[in-house]
Amino acid sequence: MNYPVWDVAFGAGLLMALVAGLHVFVSHFAVGGGLFLVLTEWKARRSNDAALLGWLKAHTKFFVLTTVVFGAMTGVGIWFTIGLISPTATSDLIHIYVWGWAIEWVFFFLEITAALLYLYGWDKLEPRLHQWYGWIYFITAYASLVVINGIITFMLTPGHWIENHRFWSGFFNPTNWPSLAFRSCICLALAGIYALITASVQKDAALKARIVRWAALWTVPSLALLPLFAWWYIRRIPPDLWASARGAMPTGTMFAGLACVLLGVTLLLALLALAWPKRLHLAFALVVALVAFGAMDSFEFVRESVRKPYVIENYLYANSLYAGPMAGDGGFTVDKVSDAGVLKSARWVKIRELSPGNQVAAGREIFRVECASCHTPDSYRGIHQLLVQREWDQDTIKSMIGGLYLMHNGVMPPFAGTDAELDALAAYLATLQTAHPVVGGAVDGKTVYEHDCAMCHALRANDHLFSNMPRDPKTAVDALKDLPGMFPVMPDLKLTEGERTGLVQWVNTVRPAAAQPALPQPAAAAPSKGGN
């Protein structure tokens, strides 16, 4: 609202994921691969292995062309992109950590210089001096990782910074060390995985086997250690956030599962390469890299998912509103915008006053300034798809937006705006609805649950829906008439008698099963299991 919102038709979030996803896979290689270069050179020179040295020289070129060009530029690309999509967060992070970024720049500059001199120095420098450049490269590249890791972990777990606003409190936050250990392992593993790519095209089978075995020393132990550091990492994330990856939030849970599976597959493939080191084919090496890419990006998605709805946890929401009032917030907090109204607070809207004739148009503008940093009308995280899936009408949409912050473990920020603006937003979103449920037909309770309840409730014994709903069907059906009367934060849904009856019947059917200890399945997926 403070800044204009860039309207990316296919979704700004997707663009961000694309740039960042490509960058992390190269940037971690840039760090681990640096150590790989110097240690491999040391090993090759110690054992007078001219063939290995020859390969390493070619591998250096591949390394520099990948990391210095693509890695560095996509890193700048992340910066360009977050400035376009989350300018408020970028501005915050720049002002809080400008000295961190500046320090990182010093390391980056040295890193690039050392990488180029190491590459050009292969034929020119005597071995000790050449390795000296390699070590400078690795140390400065690792130092860059240390700085960036501190700032990225700050975004998820700002720790005491929230109270004292001190640079080092935020930097040495609760997840800094476990994340650094975790990422260091990724760096080492990727050094081995990328080495497989250039090794696979070697004609000398014996040389190829030597490289594959050496690369496995980097990949296998690092991958095996990752779960240990992941466990440490997860333990330092507040449990209520981590719940998003344990079933409360479908996307986060899916990516957590995917990260585990793909990590396992990567390890398996690395072991397979080791089993037949002479026969390693380029296609196989690329598959290993692709699976590792999937594993790594899944992890990054999990990190981003559990952080939601914040960009900086407990400080700034993904839609650039501050979580609470503070000096200099510019009026851009949920409460202040709710008091003043979105259309009065935002700088970048045409419509300032609501009238009966401009409801949909105003709703579209509200959507743009408040929702479009993550959602699109009908593409990535598309509202159209969500609405069709759940068959909500305008009234239901309105009720549900009122309780956004309760959905999927609080993955969404609360709606900020006046009641009339909420009406306008609902009116606009209703234009995206194309599904029209059959009225008056038989109502399946499970469907009602999936459409109207599952985004906040989960099928487990201690969930209010299952533990507190009256056992007597008639009492329950009556109670569901007035949801806010039952519990004040409930949305004021107007369920028909048929829907209420169906829902109660279904809840009573699955309740005994649900009365078991908490089920780990994702909320949306669980009913299909319980219902059968």
């Binding site: 403070n2 800044y3 204009p4 919102v5 860039w6 309207d7 663009l15 740039v19 062309l65 210095v68 060009v69 693509f70 560095a72 530029m73 996509t74 700048v76 690309g77 910066w79 360009f80 992109t81 400035g83 376009l84 300018p87 408020t88 970028t90 501005s91 915050d92 720049i94 002002h95 809080i96 400008v98 000295w99 961190g100 500046a102 320090i103 720049w105 010093v106 390391f107 980056f108 500059f109 040295l110 690039i112 210089t113 050392a114 180029l116 001199l117 120095g121 020119k124 420098l125 000296w132 450049y133 400078i136 640079f167 080092w168 000096a327 200099g328 510019g330 700088r347 970048w348 045409k350």
Partner: protein, 371 residues
């Protein structure tokens, strides 16, 4: 109409050092970035030109020699560009983010274009000899991309200076395709920067000539003449283009450099005198075959001229933004320990950087090696 309300509010976090610290870092690092960019782009453009000029017997050799330097100059341009991009966001984030969002797609494409150009330059550096025809095309392709990137930068940077135009542009379409083509200073400004690149690219050739002076005098002379002439022509053109840029500025801003702002006027004076001086000196150096005069004297004065231009650019920016800048002053709360750590690492980094170049042989064999 000036409406300070259109400019986004500052975020709640204070500046972690006094304003002038960031201003100094911004101007200094931007100047270094400009020098690297000029060497890279000018070098690439002149390499192409050398190859096309059939009359020059050394055309292809010059092309290949200069092309080998371009990827490293590109790396320097990017590395030195990161710092001013950081410091401009510290001091001018509200303007910079907003204009970037208005021109979001071209701005985003900068990344794609630079990556493509960069790989093109590497292709020429590594395969230029074996694949001559493809190398020429790749060089043309990459140089064109860099010219496009420069044009996008000029659009974004000028758009950031005119908040009065933002709302109308944004409300006409939020999909991020608003170049600033109606801006009267756009083309003179862009040409001013690009011509400067040609001039400095000429100096790069002179420096390469100097490095080859003892080893291969014939070739060095050819490089010297070609680079020196490019430098002369570009600077002569620059006098006209620079005047055009000055004239295209709004009256109030123009008058800053004509006496309203003594520092601005003095800098313009130094810049003009410096430009005439480098033209004269290069002319003399070419006539007398005095490579030292060109390599040392002209380069030194040119660096001073570039620095004055960068300070003038900063004065101009603050003049444009004057009505808005005072509307919301910065709070300052210095973060001493990270600041001192940065300064310490910065000094150590510069020393280590110099040692790296020195041990590689950059300084020791000047005049003998081609590296």
């Amino acid at each position: 109409m000036i409406d300070p309300g259109i400019v986004p509010s500052l975020d709640p976090n204070p500046l972690p050092a006094p304003y002038w610290v960031f201003k100094l870092l911004l101007v200094v690092t931007f100047t270094l970035h400009m020098m690297a960019m000029n060497l890279m782009l000018g070098g690439a453009a002149l390499a192409l030109l050398a190859r096309w000029r059939k009359s020059n017997a050394y055309g292809n050799r010059i092309f290949l020699d200069v092309a080998k330097k371009v990827p490293s100059l590109m790396a320097a341009t990017i590395s030195l560009g990161i710092a001013p991009l950081l410091f401009v966001q510290v001091l001018y984030g509200q303007y910079f983010y907003t204009s970037s969002i208005l021109v979001a797609w071209p701005w985003f494409l900068v990344i794609v274009l630079v990556i493509a150009a960069y790989y093109g330059f590497y292709f020429v550096a590594y395969r230029g000899e074996q694949r001559s025809l493809a190398a020429g095309r790749a060089m043309l392709f990459s140089t064109t991309l860099v010219l496009v990137v420069g044009f996008i930068y000029t659009n974004n940077m000028t758009l950031g200076l005119v908040p009065a135009r933002w709302a109308q542009k944004y409300l006409n379409g939020a999909s991020g395709w608003h170049l600033n083509l109606t801006e009267p200073t756009l083309f003179p400004r862009y040409l001013h920067f690009m011509t400067s690149a040609i001039a400095v690219g000429g100096l790069l050739l002179v420096l390469i000539a100097w490095a080859n002076w003892k080893r291969d005098r014939q070739y060095a002379l050819a490089l010297f003449r070609f680079g020196g002439k490019a430098f002369l022509y570009a600077n002569m053109a620059q006098i006209v283009i620079g005047m055009g840029f000055l004239v295209s500025l709004p009256r109030e801003e123009r008058m800053l450099f004509m006496g309203d702002n003594p520092l601005g006027a003095a800098l313009l004076g130094i810049g003009m005198v410096g430009t005439f001086a480098i033209i004269f000196l290069m002319f003399a150096a070419l006539r007398n075959g005095n490579i030292r005069l060109a390599g040392l004297g002209v380069t030194g004065i040119t660096a001073v001229v570039i620095a004055t231009m960068c300070v003038m650019r900063d004065i101009l920016r603050d003049a444009y933004l004057k009505p808005y800048l005072n509307a919301q002053p910065f709070a300052v709360q210095t973060q001493w320990s990270p600041l001192l750590l940065f300064l310490g690492l910065f000094v150590a980094g510069v020393v280590l950087w110099a040692v790296m170049l020195w041990r590689y042989g950059f300084f020791t064999k000047a005049g003998e090696t081609g590296k």
